[in-house]
Amino acid sequence: MKSHSRKNIMNFKTVGVVGVGNIGSGVLASLVLHGIRAVAVDVSEKSLETARAGILQTVRLAPVLRKDAPKLTRNEVLERIAFTTRLEEVSTCEFIIENVTEDWAVKKPIYERLDRIASAGVCFGANTSCISITRIGSATSRPDKVIGIHFMNPVHMMPTVEVIRGQHTSAETLATLNRLLAQLKKEAIVVNDLPGFVSNRISHLFMNEAAFVFQDGLATAAQIDAIFKKCFGHKMGPLETADLIGLDTVVSSLDVLYDSFKDSKFRCCPLLRKMVEAGHCGRKSGRGFHVY
């Protein structure tokens, strides 16, 4: 019992990050900025290279935006992150954060493998947009150690995360995650589990309806966003938010919400799907509702 309590106050030293897209890279930058080492896993060297460049830029410029951010050299950053295509390399990590594509067919086998690779006591943080945490837990033999962490973009700048407790998530797992978040200087808003949770269930209705409004020719993209920013006081409008998230991800999330609730309010705007098919996926592809 004594050693157990001591373990609970120990800081995390190495965290595994599986999937290094937008959010995964942001999580890695945040870990490094708070002195935590990481193992970064993705399927291709190309994705890892893109992530490496993005993380270096984010960490290098972080002190401009946050006075408390350390000034790290390129070598200090690279020394703290092991980039790999081998999932097995997360075996020594004390906590694993998964950020792969929002597709159950992709996520499920990863959790099955992680369950075999990671030590029995290691918790998994699922950084999913809409897939239920209970469902993710069911792919493992440790559903009590699976918890949802919905990081906001840009991860190192946003002080609050939405944390989702699955049906079987234990209080101990929540406490473990809270320790990690405290190290990252973040606060959790803990909610219960249904697809989309609180944030995405509501925000995707905004984004989808904004796409319908644009499709109907009611207003330009700039006008729609301006109404949210100038009239509602939001920092960003729904269409620029969709561009930032990636329209492909928004479509996938809407599909998950539609399938989960079988409620027509989540039917994806046809224009959104068409834009994705045209390769106009938002900020990351240089064009979405806005041009970048």
Partner: protein, 85 residues
């Protein structure tokens, strides 16, 4: 050579095109007025490095260097002429 007027025009254009605002004052504080967010700040700094071939080094990492069109342009001119901020 990056002259002040030219740099200012390029920076102003970049910001205008990115955030869709009509009349951006050269001395308007982009952060205080909430005109740009932290994501765009990183884009602006990345743009400045690529476009003008300057490097934002450890000693340049102050928000004051990028807080307005004028400040950003002055930073570029200073760096281009070899003076460190």
């Amino acid at each position: 050579m990056n002259d002040s007027k030219n740099v200012k025009d390029i920076v102003r254009n970049f910001i205008n095109n990115s955030i869709n605002i009509d009349a951006l004052g050269d001395d308007e504080d982009l952060f205080e007025t909430g005109l740009i967010n932290s994501l765009f700040a990183v884009q602006l700094m990345t743009f400045v490095e690529r476009k003008f071939g300057v490097e934002i080094g450890g000693d340049d990492l102050h928000i004051d260097n990028f807080k307005s069109v004028s400040a950003t342009a002055a930073f570029v001119v200073r760096k281009s002429s070899g003076q460190v901020a």
